[in-house]
Symmetry: C2
Subunit: 324 residues, 2 copies
DNA sequence: GTGAAAGCGCTAACAG
DNA sequence: CTGTTAGCGCTTTCAC
């Protein structure tokens, strides 16, 4: 394996000059630049990223940790983050924390040991003490960790109201919403509050069902929705995250309810599962691409040693589908 | 930031001794071990992975490149790979090649520059010349690159036959199968051949529709399925990858066909989308967890300098659902 | 413009 | 069992 010294020797220059050429830095005469480039090509030289990392004390790797890549929302988030990071010159190290005890702790340790330059945290672990006193770049995605860690999230108040308006236009009278675990602090918990408020203001009845933390299986969702239809026979509106609504569609059919004739359904998030059938599910869509860009910009800034700056809070949009 | 020398000084030993303690290598007296551990704790010392990497010329990072993380099949693959690699002490650097010109080339370059110790390739780019003459660990997932790169894949002949048997049991007469692009060499292309053979042997009519490469959108699938129902009004069996079958379910409804009464449907892959509704889609399920383990074992062996060895070819299983 | 030399923070022989 | 020494392969001052 040829090294920078071999290239230097062949080109008849010093290693430092080769380095300058490779990194387009400083002033190098066209002539020596040519010589170096030829030597690089002749030796099919490939610089060692590992050595470079040590010199710069930087890896250009950002860690991304999510609860579960399989979940469409996180699939989409990971997809967008990878693209956003790529555009900014970073590579993405991915960790899916489900099935892994201590995944988040290990990940933060990897940040401390400089395996990555920064991390974007999308998990909801309960122990926030691991984030105390860390002076390395961390960005939280839709999760409040502590007051030193910037949070990237959409405008969930607006999102909740958007969904509420969509349902109220359809003249619902008894709405049931299914929400995530409320024992984790995250901006996304705001949307059902805003939703409920708007619904009540319109004089409409609303019941709320809370799911457990980190429960994502279709079976669990279906069970919950079945219960909903049994417990509230007069329900005519369902609101919840994408997969909940998918389950609602299935459960409704089982319980002899037609959607949207008997029951309206609005999904929150609007990932691709709401578009799997030709008749899209009506949904409040999170601007994941934009959010990923904001997260990438923020972590990038922190790595450069700058302050995170103010974080934009983008709005959701309504996807008009066939379910409401 | 404390370094290994600081720890050594505080503990009153040499840096090499500290290294031995940290890595549980060689023989260190209990006494000095204690001293070192205390010093480590007192300084909250975190060893630099970057420096370690240079010394060892190894990063413990495996690159994984797939066409599209959003696609359920690849979500699931990525999920399983990450877990399998994690269990073997590796971290996963993920690249989704869609929307990225030259992603595969860049990825292979990163392998050459030692950003990763090895890569697992699941993409289907057309230019295989970039893999010529590389002496670093590469494993292909369901894709034939060249005769030096080991391929991990399920037994698609058995899988195709499994699906065929399922349909023949239901007494189909005119089956349409939708398949991926055939201009890429991959073991998965075998399944529709095996399927077709079995179906023809049973004296059943079969038509085949080929999709373009890297087309994964629900809309595209739906369009294709709509055409199928229009062109073949007597079709009573549909076979294709998961998302095709999802689209088939939707399109069937539109065209007044009931599933499974009028048309049977069998999916190939059997990812979680086939289980999104309580009535699962009948499917030939790829053992992705097992495949991921095989891929991880193989790349691991190659990194250790061993030969890839023989690659097991696991079988698919039938998920009995409500569609056939 | 270019080269010499000093690291970056670890690991690994090899003495002792 | 522990310390000394020499790298790993780059980048980066700082003279020339």
């Amino acid at each position: 394996m040829a090294g920078i010294r071999d290239v230097a020797r062949l080109a008849g220059v010093a290693p430092s000059t080769v380095s300058l050429v490779l990194n387009n830095k400083g002033y190098v005469s066209l002539d020596t630049r040519r010589k170096v480039e030829k030597a690089v090509k002749d030796l099919s030289y490939m610089p060692s990223t590992i050595a470079r990392n040590l010199s710069l004390n930087r890896t250009n790797i950002i860690g991304v940790i999510v609860p579960e890549v399989l979940h469409p929302f996180y699939s989409e988030l990971v997809h967008e983050l990878e693209q956003a990071l790529y555009l900014r010159g970073y590579k993405m190290l991915l960790c899916s924390s489900s099935n892994k005890e201590k995944a988040e702790v290990l990940f933060v340790d990897m940040l401390k040991t400089h395996t990555m330059d920064g991390i974007i945290v999308g998990t909801h672990s309960m122990d926030l003490s691991i984030y105390e006193g860390i002076d390395r770049p961390i960005v939280a995605f839709d999760r409040i960790i502590n007051d030193r860690i910037p949070v990237v999230h959409a405008d969930h108040v607006q999102g909740g109201e958007l969904a509420a308006k969509a349902m109220l236009h359809q003249d619902c009278h008894h709405i049931v919403q299914v929400i995530g675990a409320q024992n984790v602090r995250c901006p996304a918990n705001e949307y059902h509050i805003a939703f409920e408020k708007k619904i009540r203001e319109a004089g409409c009845m609303i019941d709320t069902i809370e799911m457990e933390r980190n429960v994502f299986s279709p079976e669990a969702f279906y069970r919950v929705m079945s219960e909903v239809f049994e417990r509230y026979p007069d329900v005519d509106g369902i609101f919840g995250a994408d997969l909940i609504i998918c389950a609602a569609l299935a459960a409704a059919q089982e319980h002899g309810k037609r959607i949207p004739e008997d029951v309206k359904a609005v999904a929150y998030d609007g990932t691709y599962v709401t578009r799997l059938s030709p008749f899209a599910i009506t949904a409040a869509v999170q601007p994941l691409q934009e959010l990923a860009g904001i997260a990438a910009d923020t972590i990038s800034r922190m790595i450069m040693g700058e302050a995170p700056g103010s974080i934009p809070v983008p709005k959701l949009t309504l996807q008009k589908g066939a379910t409401c």
